[in-house]
Subunit: 309 residues, 2 copies
Amino acid sequence: MKMAIRYGVIGTGALGGFYGGMLAKAGHEVHFLFRSDYEYVRNHGLQVESVNGDFHLSEVNAYPNTEEMPLCDVILVCLKTTGNHHLPELIKPILHAKSVVVLLQNGLGLEEDLSAQLPGVAIAGGLAFICSNKIGPGHIHHLDYGKLIIGSYNVPEQEILKQIVSDFQLAGIHSELSPDLKFSRWQKLVWNIPFNGMTVVLNTTTDRLMSNNQTRELSKELMLEVIHGANACGVPLKESLAQQMIDMTVKMKPYAPSMKLDYDHRRAMEIEYIYSKPLETAGKAGFEMCKVAMLEKQLRFIQAHLLDK
Amino acid sequence: MKMAIRYGVIGTGALGGFYGGMLAKAGHEVHFLFRSDYEYVRNHGLQVESVNGDFHLSEVNAYPNTEEMPLCDVILVCLKTTGNHHLPELIKPILHAKSVVVLLQNGLGLEEDLSAQLPGVAIAGGLAFICSNKIGPGHIHHLDYGKLIIGSYNVPEQEILKQIVSDFQLAGIHSELSPDLKFSRWQKLVWNIPFNGMTVVLNTTTDRLMSNNQTRELSKELMLEVIHGANACGVPLKESLAQQMIDMTVKMKPYAPSMKLDYDHRRAMEIEYIYSKPLETAGKAGFEMCKVAMLEKQLRFIQAHLLDK
């Protein structure tokens, strides 16, 4: 018989609000960390507008800090990676000996960094294929998709991950267990690297990048570089994935990836884990991702001048 | 004894107004083609504000089209290359059997294209190292520098080019004869390719690109690609030129290259001759300028959306 999992959600924004909200709606015990929205959610609850049906949670286990939270079996980290240096202090108060931390974040090398800071803690990674935004205090707007892939970094027993996936599935989330987290992370980068950066540098949206021949070509070239970078690291992504992702993006509604939203709102961009770590990792394996490196430098410049414009 | 050269200036803007104005001021016979400024200059003359001393030409041989101009010995083409498809029709009315056309324009392959359209015509190239802007009708502002390098493409006798250089020198312009036009054109591209494109894509000026470590590095990487592209084409530019140009640019006053001004004013950008032709030429010689190619595609996208923003 399964034990009920007690979930903690660190960072209740577009992702944490949606996925955590779906689990809570399905009857799971979920404890949510809020920052600026804490007071609002305590008074008004959490509102999720979703393509799959809107819902409202009036009773939310909301906390302004993790010290007040109970110990959690599964800790879903849904923060931007730009705040990951705060993770150890944030997580420690709710860790028990068998807790699993799931980094629901984009990029590469996240689990390695956290594991170095919290040795012995069981860590998994999660990849969300979702269009979701926070549009107001305690107010999430889920626009499209929603698939969640979870994979072990150093989790000793797969049972707990299987149960998480099962909990998400029963809560109405398309969820899968990845047999190879590294593969899944690189695979997602094949999309994230061209479109996060290019929508920022060219101040545009995916549909325009796709309807222009030059940028559609360049997007595919960037994807192929990432695939070759992955290959150099022993990750067997196929070149054909590039054209598949281009075709998919051509069909997508006009979309501004999360980095573009961060740029538009003058927030720090996730350059480190989406660009610098993959570049470093592929570089160590002997492959220089030339165009990705150029995009990273352009983004670093834009980041440095973000407050000037 | 030297014959006096009759000069024609096709396109009296920042460059044509300054260089042609200096020749006219020195007493040379210069005929100027104007477009929108024709009426103004006929009534008010040409005003040149220059770091080397302001001057005003009250009597200007101004024309609204080349049909009304006399035949010219030397035709200085000072138009943007984006209008080069009009060159044959513009030039024909003022050509005689011994005319020399000097393309005072940036980029690569200009002389080849014109020569294919006007077989047998003597063509030279000119490279202007100058900061100059047109700031009003018949009103030129020369901010800095001014060196002019002229080199033969297919001019049968070097004497005429020597005399042009001598005329410019006596008119107060630092002018030199290039023994190798191809070398000089590639050399100038080493600066133009990174800074024209990057100031547009990142919407900035040279000083900011230089004070940011990432873009200073990227500028040098782009320069090295151009140098290697030139090398593949048999042009012996040295790698050390990249660092020299970086050092020079670090010392320069904040500067917006001509492509950035075109972008700011929502005018067509000279992508074809500054990016596409060098890429094509190096590519045919077996060298792919990977980052230059990326910059070109970004510029093509920006050009296509220039009127949206």
